[in-house]
Symmetry: D2
Subunit: 493 residues, 4 copies
Amino acid sequence: MAAEKIILKDNANIKFNNNVDFCVGTGRTGLALCKEYLDELSLVQEEIGFKHIRGHGLFSDDVAIYREYEENGKTKFEYNFTYLDRIYDSYLERNIRPFIELGFMPKQLASGTQTIFYWKGNTTPPKDYKRWQSMLKAYFEHIIDRYGFDEVKTWPIEVWNEPNLPGFWKDADMNEYFKLFTKSFEAIKKISPEFKVGGPAICGVRDEEWIKAFCEYLHKNKIVPDFFTRHHYTVEFPERVGHYDYHVVSDPEDGFKNLKSTRDIIDSYKEFKGLPIHITEFSTSYTPFGVIHDTNFNAAYLARLLSRMGDVNESYSYWTFGDVFEEQGVPYTPFHGGFGLVAGGCIPKPTFYTFAFFKKLKVKAEKCILRQDDAVVVKTKDGYAGVLWNTSKKKITKEFDFKKGEYSLLTQTVDEETCNPLKLWHDLGEHANPTKAEVKMLRDAAKPLTSSERVTDKITVDVKKNGVVYFELVRSTITPDRGYDYNRVLALR
Amino acid sequence: MAAEKIILKDNANIKFNNNVDFCVGTGRTGLALCKEYLDELSLVQEEIGFKHIRGHGLFSDDVAIYREYEENGKTKFEYNFTYLDRIYDSYLERNIRPFIELGFMPKQLASGTQTIFYWKGNTTPPKDYKRWQSMLKAYFEHIIDRYGFDEVKTWPIEVWNEPNLPGFWKDADMNEYFKLFTKSFEAIKKISPEFKVGGPAICGVRDEEWIKAFCEYLHKNKIVPDFFTRHHYTVEFPERVGHYDYHVVSDPEDGFKNLKSTRDIIDSYKEFKGLPIHITEFSTSYTPFGVIHDTNFNAAYLARLLSRMGDVNESYSYWTFGDVFEEQGVPYTPFHGGFGLVAGGCIPKPTFYTFAFFKKLKVKAEKCILRQDDAVVVKTKDGYAGVLWNTSKKKITKEFDFKKGEYSLLTQTVDEETCNPLKLWHDLGEHANPTKAEVKMLRDAAKPLTSSERVTDKITVDVKKNGVVYFELVRSTITPDRGYDYNRVLALR
Amino acid sequence: MAAEKIILKDNANIKFNNNVDFCVGTGRTGLALCKEYLDELSLVQEEIGFKHIRGHGLFSDDVAIYREYEENGKTKFEYNFTYLDRIYDSYLERNIRPFIELGFMPKQLASGTQTIFYWKGNTTPPKDYKRWQSMLKAYFEHIIDRYGFDEVKTWPIEVWNEPNLPGFWKDADMNEYFKLFTKSFEAIKKISPEFKVGGPAICGVRDEEWIKAFCEYLHKNKIVPDFFTRHHYTVEFPERVGHYDYHVVSDPEDGFKNLKSTRDIIDSYKEFKGLPIHITEFSTSYTPFGVIHDTNFNAAYLARLLSRMGDVNESYSYWTFGDVFEEQGVPYTPFHGGFGLVAGGCIPKPTFYTFAFFKKLKVKAEKCILRQDDAVVVKTKDGYAGVLWNTSKKKITKEFDFKKGEYSLLTQTVDEETCNPLKLWHDLGEHANPTKAEVKMLRDAAKPLTSSERVTDKITVDVKKNGVVYFELVRSTITPDRGYDYNRVLALR
Amino acid sequence: MAAEKIILKDNANIKFNNNVDFCVGTGRTGLALCKEYLDELSLVQEEIGFKHIRGHGLFSDDVAIYREYEENGKTKFEYNFTYLDRIYDSYLERNIRPFIELGFMPKQLASGTQTIFYWKGNTTPPKDYKRWQSMLKAYFEHIIDRYGFDEVKTWPIEVWNEPNLPGFWKDADMNEYFKLFTKSFEAIKKISPEFKVGGPAICGVRDEEWIKAFCEYLHKNKIVPDFFTRHHYTVEFPERVGHYDYHVVSDPEDGFKNLKSTRDIIDSYKEFKGLPIHITEFSTSYTPFGVIHDTNFNAAYLARLLSRMGDVNESYSYWTFGDVFEEQGVPYTPFHGGFGLVAGGCIPKPTFYTFAFFKKLKVKAEKCILRQDDAVVVKTKDGYAGVLWNTSKKKITKEFDFKKGEYSLLTQTVDEETCNPLKLWHDLGEHANPTKAEVKMLRDAAKPLTSSERVTDKITVDVKKNGVVYFELVRSTITPDRGYDYNRVLALR
């Protein structure tokens, strides 16, 4: 197939809100006590580097913040921040800070017994909104005391998670959620108006209805939130077989339209127009055994999302950074379709590199000069950088022409042949409990293939089926050390 | 080109003394105080794992063991083991122990002023053999005291280095060397006859003459050493341009013949017949700016040496593990043709993996079942493992037929396209002082490409120009977790 | 007060089974996934070094081993070893291995809903003993597969925990326990008779009755266990105030008598006579908010136990190594009276050093030459070593006379003035959530005071109130370096 | 003896230029390649934290920057920054940056053969000042390229070392030094006038004469340096015995007067008045076998210097941070009187804590409220902090009265009984090569004794002979957790 010819124009300037590293999701907050969790997070932070981390279960009983007790016949309450401090300390040590999600309900503060997940997060409203507000006050005062107000005020605050699903919020009761939002908003703004608070954190179920009703409610009550939030998954309903979910992806354009519709509703209110929308969760599959997550296809498909999610949103947070996750129980194997960028044993999945590549783009970019359905190219200080991807089944080839000069071309290729830990794990026998040697092998193999070349005015880049390719063109001249002749070295034998 | 067809016979049993990990060379002993040296050594030990390490300069003044001083008008002497302990402690912490080389001469104990190298190792006989013996006694007593006799007695001891070169031993004076050998041998055996002492540590210059004379001398003097030693380099005389040496390699078969001639001379003496010969240095080029060292060709060429060096020798020690080395001054760039398996910044060179692959063969082998000029295959507990290499300019292909079964095939490929840090460094601009980001990139890129497959009774392995390929066939059945269907996963989109 | 004069006799030889390092307790197995837990364990292993670790909850649902599911209308079961492997790998990396405790009951395998603790361990018999046996079989086969039979067979196996308490075993039903024991014993011995299995793991409640009944049962059923087990706590019933338990200790001699009574019952059966008794838990207080645990008094009191517990028992396992522990919920402050040798933030408590000192005694001892109620002294290869302690409120002083010579005396003192992190924490304000700087300060301060002296034939050792002192006398001569004169150095000013 | 009574006045405000952490000295630059050097530096930076590091030998041949070679019959020159980058990278990783000292002379650029030290630094003027300037240009351009101008411009630059001694500068030739200074100054200011350049780096020999002549020279030539530098040692001429130097200290007041005289000379020139004076080396003894360095007396004596050195000087750099040092050869034992704050094996000496304590004072101080010959006290945000020292042979006692309140008092005591690694090493037998266990013991023992108390309005602080005591009073109330009663805990038994 002939290469697509593309001329890179230095004076182009294309809007591209690449906020790949703003936030990432995590399994429930309490899991941050685990060593494997922290090892995976360290890896993600070293190679990608996110600013914020968002997860459920901050107020769930395994974090153990809220406690009621009887004294002299009266019910009193007290707070315990032992685990919270350990968790947040670990985050800050890894240069990541909370995108706070207020939820779920401490058992003793709950109005009901409904729980969600293997780990039993209580998803009922508070039995007493004053106590809820007291708890928020105690929580914020504690973290301000420990980390300083200047630090804490940079942590966005989202009220609850997916209240539009009855599993996450009893009866998906809209009015009750609006009450929770308002009570939380008020309690926090009272501590400081500088805190940024938003919602409604809904997923795609009846999303238009919810967004409209939420805006209307805020409008009527003269509340202006600091930002809006919603989620975004891009798969059809799965087939479940045994432990696993088989999902087919939907057309990304449908998703972009859906996101645009949220933007439009919000912007239709004068006082909300242009307020940030944070996509506080997104991925392909929305289940923790969604086998598609581990594939090279997922990596390529995600690249397209990353190239577009910033169009109408401030940020978008991949759900999740790692595979220490227990919503549907403990995983049976390292490649079980977990949400993570990293599999158990600190093995990067292909999608890990999609994020790493977009992060490099962001760090290096002066401006975007090309954006296509399967490519983004930016101008850098001393050349160009780009990411290409291919969700089709055939190789694609692009030829880029650019300003003449001496360049070094660096490419990193993640495709089924060069960086495919899932296949290696399969070929080794799909061991549920790989040996240490196997885990090391998997980790070593889960690296992009790096290539390089000296070029002057054009390059051709191939992207194989389900591949993602990063390239960098850096102006450079070779200044050999005295007597060194690379071509002569190569000719020796 | 048609594949060469090879049938792997489970009942074959081919002699193959694979002693790839017995010993490795190092820059002068005093350099072991350096952090970069130790970082490189740690990497080599983690991924390859040698038993012994051998280098020059144990008694040179930078290690500072021997010191004379005046007291009351008399010359006295004393010993300082501060640095020695630091060095040997570092070795043992990294699970490697000395192959002791006795040399060079402390300035104050020397009979002359001749030195060798940028770092000025004195290469003259002792001014007083009694003091030499006293120093040996003090040295051995000290290390026995610190590390225990059971440990130290496993460290082989070689007398001096390349006395057949006038630069290394004044006038290449044979008789003087025999005297040094005898005096050293006696002093050490007096401490314990269990110590293993050998020589004459010669290189390929006038080697036959030296070996014969050495044997004759020992024979006449009724000395039976514990082993013999010599060196082995396989290049023609280089052209030097600027800082660099351009060498062409010689035919390996010529080298093997040369090694055999040493074996034959030794075996012609009844009392020496079959005594171990340790090749205490070998490589292609014998200079620290021998640019060939950094190439993929070197890796492939070395594979052939590793497949044969054990035929007439007990062991063979690659010169050297790393590029912290100063014989001709401080290197100007990371890829300067240093001796090391690892370049500055802990970047593995292609040859690093030749060693890693042969080490895996050794660990896994039950017996050797195939040995060719470009391949070795062993039978393992649960399958097969092999290394293939290609020093030609065209791809070679081999088809292996083996006992039918369910196997996972793992291959690791090191060739100019998959693992070529030299090229990447060149393409980036041959920077003398790469940035930290560049060093990380080089390190990340210097990995074999790992592939895998499920196979049943035959495999085809390609080895490209200058490539080295490791493969492993492991009998295994796939036992998918409940509901997991890999093919269905792959088909999702 | 005059010093007590003691003559150390080199030819004395006193029975002293110092098995201080055989085993240590831990919070529930699942907590071993936590980073803080593993950091504390690393510290304990570096400075003390235990062989085995024993904790509850192996089969509890947070470790997630056992799982039932429906398929085609039938209930099936499957196993998940993801977390188990992570935990046991972590143990072995820290050179400690399980003392296996079989329990508690997976919810789906349980016959009832009774649970114990904040973390809700199910303490009812299996609903189906065949499935229990199947689970044991699967568990043992898995760990043998992963760690090797030679390794696993060294791990002692104890059936359940404290079945004599109705909280730990429904109705404290003896016959049901005997059934559980027998079924477990049979299932394990069927895998290999080399496994060592024991029980009944009772605490001090109705202990005589239980031991007798257990022996009788075994005797009648011709079962010979590999060892017996029981627990040993040495406090009176506490007063609970708020979160905390205030216990007064009992006379240690009463405890020793109680232990002896168990020994006597067992030895009264011919077939059990002399079988090992492992005290699989012991401490002063038996609650995780037993404030006495953090005190210097506890350290001194424990020393006496350590000097005697081996008299009739094979081993004795301190409950627990660290303060990551959740039986009564998450601790509120670092010094909450947790069971651990180490407080949260890796702060050693005084009792930590009692163990460290007895471990040194063990490592250095050739034989015991003195044992008193407040001292033990051993003969070492090149001198003497001893531990002294003082549970009284007044300083005690002992003078030791020994074989004349040149010795260096080293003492390490842990008392209220030299190593008292509890006091420092109190004086800093009893902060529930100390800052990192405070934690570092606490950790730095929680060290013994080390002193030294040159002595020849006698030493005087003071032990202040609640103190524990370790001393070491090592024969050594001073061989100053040329020109070094220590006394002259000291006189300089 | 009665305590001295001192009333701390909150409204006092005493001048105290505490610049304890501005700079520290180091053995020759090339030693920074050593692992032990970097381990010691890491420790110093973690516990004290200096901003700059200054050492000799930047241009000496072991760093290998300058190299001449012949090509086509002509002499050419080239630069090698391989080692320099490794060294400076290591510094910046440890958050310390060079205080550049320009010197000594590369052998090939030298006009003579005179060398100094065991490591043979060439101390002759350049054979060609243009080449010297070229080298400076190349050096600065390289480090600007690697570290950025904004970073490098913060590194002060000093021309040469102690040119007033003939060993350090041929014939102590003043005019030649002034030439070197001028040529260097010009070359550097040409790169950027923002660089800060100073001299003359003299020691106390003929210092007045040199300072005057230097000022006069600058004045006449209309050169205004950015700062002046000199050294300051406070001992009498030593007696050398064997390897060791026995020095008696001089009266500190004499030293302060001497420093003032330099200040006065400089300030007598209008254009130099008030320019910073950096004491680029100071200590008690000026030899690397000055046994006084290791003593507790040294720690106490140094405290007095630290309390006063800032009076007329901008900064003062202790010579040196560690004991990896070779000016008079390799040390024979860990406690050989080396210059370092840390002995070999990363053992802090008492003086280490004098610096740590003054650094804490600096970090916490709002202002100084007391300065005596044996004490400094500062007001902190929430209380007071102070350092006391005692160079006499008798205990001193001070009682401080302060503003009534609830305080926690923390004291850290370094004296002969609490933190005296030299004594421990002596008592163990003065082993030249301590075992790993001994080194660990020495390291563990080399810690201050930490004590604490609750106080309200007065404290009494004892300082024993040769002691240094740090104290901190922090306002704090105790807020016991529910049910916790510290006094009741202590009373338990």
